[in-house]
Amino acid sequence: MKVEVSRRKFLQGSVALAIAGGTSISVSNLLAKDKGKIEITTKTGTGEATFVPTLCEMCVNKCAAIARVENGVVTKLDPNPRFPKSKNMLCPRGNAGIQALYDPDRLKSPMIRDGKKGSGKFKKVTWDEAYSYIEEKMVKILDEEKDNRSSFLFCAGEGMAEHTFKQFYQAFGSANWLNHSSICLQTVVSGYGVTLGAYPQSDLENAEYVIMAGANRAEAIVTPDTMDMFKRTKGRGTKMICIDPRFTNTAAKADKWLAIKPGTDLAFVLALTYVTITEEIYNKKYVEDNFAGFDKYKQSIIENKYTPQWAEKITGIKATDIIKVAREFMAHAPKSVYYPGRRSTFAKNDFQLRRAMAIFQGLGGGIDCKGGLVFGSKIKLKGHEGLEPIYDRARSRGVDKKKNAVKGEAGYSDCAVVGGGGSWVSWRNRFLEKRMPYNVRGMFIYKHNPVLNMPNSAKTIEMLKKMELVVAIDTMPSDTVMYADVVLPECTYLERTDPVKTFGGVEPSIAQRNKVVEPMFESKPVMEIMQGLTNKISKSIFEITKKHDEEVQDLIKEDGEEAAYAEFDLTKPFHESQEKINEHAVHDHHGAAEELKKHGVYYPDMGKYYKQVSANVHQYYIESRKSYSVNGGKPKTKSGKVECYLANLSTKGVDPMPIWRDEYNFNVPKGKFRLLTGRHAQFTQSGTANNSVLRDLIFENYIWINKRIAKAKDIKFGDNIEVSSSAGKVTIKAYPTEKIAPDTVFFVHGFGQESEALSWAYKNGANDNAVIEDVTEPVYGAAAMHETNVEIRKV
């Protein structure tokens, strides 16, 4: 067997060999000189150490870690084997969490802007000065807007302390909340939600057949899916079919890879459905008992002639392959999974795609069962009292209602349904295009980087410039922070205890992030920032309410000012320490609070069942206690049925069942390329770009261009390529490869920082969102990120 393993060959062979999404070649040492000193990792010692169980926050998965602390310094993060969700692993980012803590570029103290917006010039201030500045601006804006609390926007990235920040938003009384959902998983969550009643998990530990389409679990790590999947492919228990327009690391680990034209997965699923129905290989009993609207859907599938031959023309996947996949999937059902995916909104038809996937899954009966899609169970936590006062003057969410909308059409100009997390892109564009029903003049940003994380960076920057007061709470001087008026430094996840969290699944548990070391510099946890801020502003902005809100004036007359204020006291949700709140949350579970402090993880009978089975394997629950089936194998919809046909959607102008429309066809004008974006295992979006260890693995991103096209255009590895669209242009180095189709290009997200305060990330590679156009899908207004055609040019 000839195996390529030499380390030197790996280094020299060609730079291209090392490229997953970016590159990992040792240019870093050369550039280090002008980009700041490369920090050296600390060797772990053999002397005394303390250990603190925590949860990783280098991405959304929240894997359990144990921090090793020597002389007050965190020297190592090890996986915590007790957590069923992360199963004793930490990915490269999890290991590199130490560098996030000790990043020399961290935000160290509160700052107020001291130059033009976006100039990156700030002056250091005390916490009190920062709060006073916010208070003054806030009072002015609220007074001028007559106590319309919605004149402030609140937005947050995903994280365990997002909840704490959201409590501030709720108490403040604005209706404008934007989270990361509309640039991530909104369509998949709601597509499965309306069809199966919940966004399910996949039992990849037991599935025998898995279709993984547009989900790159080898590079976009999701726990426990990534760990469960790849131990079993390649003839070791499961057959995995990877469907992707590019050859990813997931494709490399698949049993079969089928290249598909971008945005045409829906045609593929419709054809799978066609084969399944016409060959009558679906689970008839399951469908009879658990489907609603099946006959209508069946009729549509057959009358529209969604044949494999029809789909071959649209998707590029051979009809014979489609037939084979449909037959194999059904032969293994219910132990087969059409993997739902996570970040999902690639094309405009995404909501319908997820519905079609959910229905196809149902045809095999693999719902709420071992080896199929699972709902799992969840350990209950006790709620913490928040504050949601009613401000009479606060307007409802800033939407753009369509005038004279008729039944059967979307009621809004930019989407059919407004979800709780809102549509970031639509909201921003309404603001810029003056389609807001009232003025929005200030915004709070928590752990969120809208400049880099959503399509059309130029527009986001314009929006931030137009906001009178931008308050950013973050750990790093991101591109977004550069446009803030006030910067409040949050401490990193290793320096704080966060709200305890319950993790549902086949093996449910509760886990807690415990503070490992004291916050460095002037930084604070969000909880304390909220305490300080609300103490400062609560009374003074209540004065504004008193002035404009007649209801409150009446209330004061009736009950007196003190009683009235009690309902509006913003400090209320933040009185207790996080530790106390967590103890209360798990109060119903005997011994949980202690276990969570000691082990970071708790579930019933952990002491009895948790054990190490072998060097690499741990047992959490015994088989009979696992929650494979919690709903009798039925979907969780209100009707208890898989919803094929949703009449209420058609009243909003949304197709009531998944169908193909000609406008969904993949089409690239001659001379242009479809731009795809994605993830890789060493970075989490733009958030880890300045991490010295990770940046050392992937220094910059490269654009994948098909080798034959590159040859024709005389593009060689490393050549500078200008990529342009109507949104903007970037320059990025070329990586000619056969892993991508001739009409498509790709580069990973998370690079191209413009913030000079990030000494290592600054101007490494290119920012995809500078060229991705702001296309949204029609149901929720979620950003459809693979709809942009670009031109490329060697420069």
Binding site: V3, E4, V5, S6, R7, F10, S14, A16, L17, A18, S26, S28, N29, I38, I40, T41, K43, T44, T46, T75, K76, D78, P79, M89, C91, P92, G94, N95, I98, A218, E219, T226, M227, F230, K231, K234, R236, F247, N249, T250, A251, A252, K253, A254, K256, W257, A615, N616, A681, Q682, V693, L694, D696, L697, N706, R708, E738, I740, A741, P742
Partner: protein
């Protein structure tokens, strides 16, 4: 006395490089892609889109093989490279004169120069960190999402690694060179 080796379920590897970061953080290895004790070998993919060969893109996680007949040890003029008590191939930085004979002699190219000490370094099986503290796994094994590695005592017939090597087919790299590697790739 134990004789340490490692079995690799290499088909599990997703090329995520968690092992590389864990190794650097555990053992204080210098940053820089040319300064690593552990790596994943992968060849350029063969074929033309969309007809690509999946096997040509197989990932081969690797590190020092801790050869029983180590060429690096044979050529070392100062005996800086030596066999540890449990069969690990070690380098004594006090004795290393950076002649770099070992780097050339190693058929697996497992060695690099540590710029701080200006001596040769490589995988130690975490001997002076984890093993010295009494831990039984290496950092790269412990952190791996798909659990590629199983570390253990080859001389103990009861050990997990011995059991695995008895029951599963495996191969070693460049076996024809007679270096007797103690890294075993499970098929």
């Amino acid at each position: 006395m134990a004789r340490y080796g490692m079995a690799l379920d290499y088909k599990n590897c997703i090329n995520c490089k968690a092992c590389e970061v864990a190794c650097k953080e555990e053992n204080g290895v210098l940053l820089g892609a040319d300064k690593h004790r552990i790596w994943v070998g992968v060849g350029e993919i063969e074929g033309e889109y969309p007809l690509l060969s999946i096997v040509s893109n197989t990932f081969y996680p690797s590190q020092c093989q801790h050869c029983d007949e180590a060429p690096c040890q044979m050529v070392c003029p100062t005996n800086a490279t030596y066999y540890g008590e449990q069969g690990q191939v070690r380098v004594d930085p006090e004795k290393c004169i950076l002649c770099s004979y070992c780097m050339n002699a190693c058929p697996y190219d497992a060695r690099y120069v540590d710029d701080r000490t200006m001596t040769v370094d490589k995988c130690t099986f975490c001997t002076d960190t984890r093993l010295e503290r009494g831990e039984t796994t290496t950092a790269c094994q412990n952190t791996c999402p798909t659990k590629v590695r199983i570390f253990g005592d080859l001389d103990d017939p009861q050990s997990e690694i011995s059991e695995l090597l008895r029951t599963r087919e495996h191969f070693t790299l460049k076996a024809n060179l007679g270096t007797k590697p103690k890294l075993f790739y499970l098929t």
